[in-house]
Symmetry: C2
Subunit: 268 residues, 2 copies
């Protein structure tokens, strides 16, 4: 939590105010449902460790997933602003979530106006990412959808501070890949096989490893603009980083004032 706050693109008083706010840490295991839309919710939830997926379900049980939640991100602003969540959140890994009561969050908003502005940045970027997913599901064939998803996750992990070599390794059950892309697991499996045959990816156990990032991005017709790279990177100069660079040591809240480096889909 402290690590998480320190990297926010906020001034010291804001950071200190967040650190001074009473909060609760909850832990979940891989596969757990972190929350459901039919539960009462009186707290903001911020993911601090691990990876989670937002999804909705249809009456017949079919699922559609909108996005991953990476560390240092609010899981669900609707919960604070409207008092209800509009989706399920599932833990894809073991997960740590910080809860801050809605009343305290609104109090923070009132006392530190930079905080809602920061969240406005995050949410605008979130919508942009969701728009791109809709474009994939609505108009791209399965193989491009998959190539696009893999490229997007690789880039977002890099932007969050994961080393490029690690970011090429994607651990996501095919059931979830299908739920992101609007495909069945069977078709995901077949499509992965095609990418493998094209030499763009490899599979090791349950992980997909990107072998040719540039080729994959080209197949996906990937244009990274929608990620608004400046908004995920830490603000100005990123703070010095501790030894291990696993998923959640860094991130940054994203936000205003961050120039961010240009991202190209053609590197490597």
């Amino acid at each position: 939590m402290i690590r998480f706050v320190r990297h926010l693109p906020l001034a010291e008083p804001e950071k200190q105010a967040i650190l001074d706010t009473p909060r609760e840490i909850r832990r979940f295991q891989r596969g757990d449902t972190i929350y459901r839309p039919d539960e009462p919710c009186g707290a903001a939830r911020i993911l601090v460790e691990g990876l989670a997926a937002q999804y909705r379900i249809l009456p017949n049980g079919e699922r559609q997933s909108a996005d991953l939640v990476f560390p240092a991100r609010f899981c669900d602003l609707g919960c604070i602003l409207f008092g209800v969540s509009d989706h399920f959140l599932a833990a894809l890994t073991d997960v740590e979530v910080v809860e801050i009561s809605t009343a305290r969050i609104l109090d923070l908003f009132a006392r530190y106006p930079q905080i809602p502005v920061l969240l406005l940045h995050q949410e605008t970027r979130n919508r942009s990412i969701l728009f791109e997913r809709l474009l994939s599901v609505g108009r791209r064939p399965a193989i491009r959808r998959l190539a696009h998803l893999l490229t997007e996750f690789r880039l977002r992990r890099e932007l969050a501070g994961v080393a490029p070599s690690r970011a090429k390794r994607i651990l996501l059950p095919q059931r979830w890949i299908g739920d992101f892309l609007g495909l069945t697991t069977e078709h995901v499996s077949r499509t992965i096989a095609k990418l493998k045959a094209m030499g763009l990816i490899e599979q090791h156990r349950n992980a997909i490893v990107i072998r040719d990032p540039a080729g994959l991005a080209r197949l996906a017709e990937f244009d990274p603009g929608y990620l608004h790279p400046g908004a995920e990177a830490p603000p100005r100069a990123p703070p010095a980083r501790r030894g291990r660079e696993g998923g959640s040591t860094v991130a940054g809240f994203g936000g205003p004032g961050s120039e961010g480096s240009k991202v190209s889909a053609n590197e490597s």
Copy 2:
């Protein structure tokens, strides 16, 4: 513009500040492209009259539309926050757009912290609507997709203050319906024919008229929760309304503090 500001769920000082802000009105005709993502953009754009559609395109020219923009809504927050737009905006009717320079908007943010909070509400709701569209495109068959879209537009127009009888009349070219739903115009045409055969809708000239709103909502498995109805309705008590209640007289910025009435998909 004045009409528009008066209905915002903001206190008087905020409203006055917005009214005092220098701005420019631009008019477009049906079919015009209001802006494109590759243009420089240094101003916030607020739709005050008419109807517009946000969309992205693929290299092969296929289009995917995310959402309609109704009057009294920001067209594109990315433009202010990131300096670039991430989509095209097309005028579906003749349209009036107010432009306020980014610098002045950011100044308003700084002086009146309620304004970014209001936009945060809007954007959270926008994302929720987009999520539901993704669910449609990813997992619902064409006939439900269409039923859902028609129901959503009807309800949103009602929430924006359009009389229920008028809200049942939907004027949207089939090309655009297809772009919202990820379908070809041919298939949209065939699907409309099915709904007509089921007695749920009628067609008059270019308009679709909903004949059985409840039946359509049932077919769509429509759950209105994602619209966060409280956020579109004017705050507390809605101000008295002038004579004509066409598309754009009312609306309201949506936002905090608005309880809003419960919406049911089963009325009428």
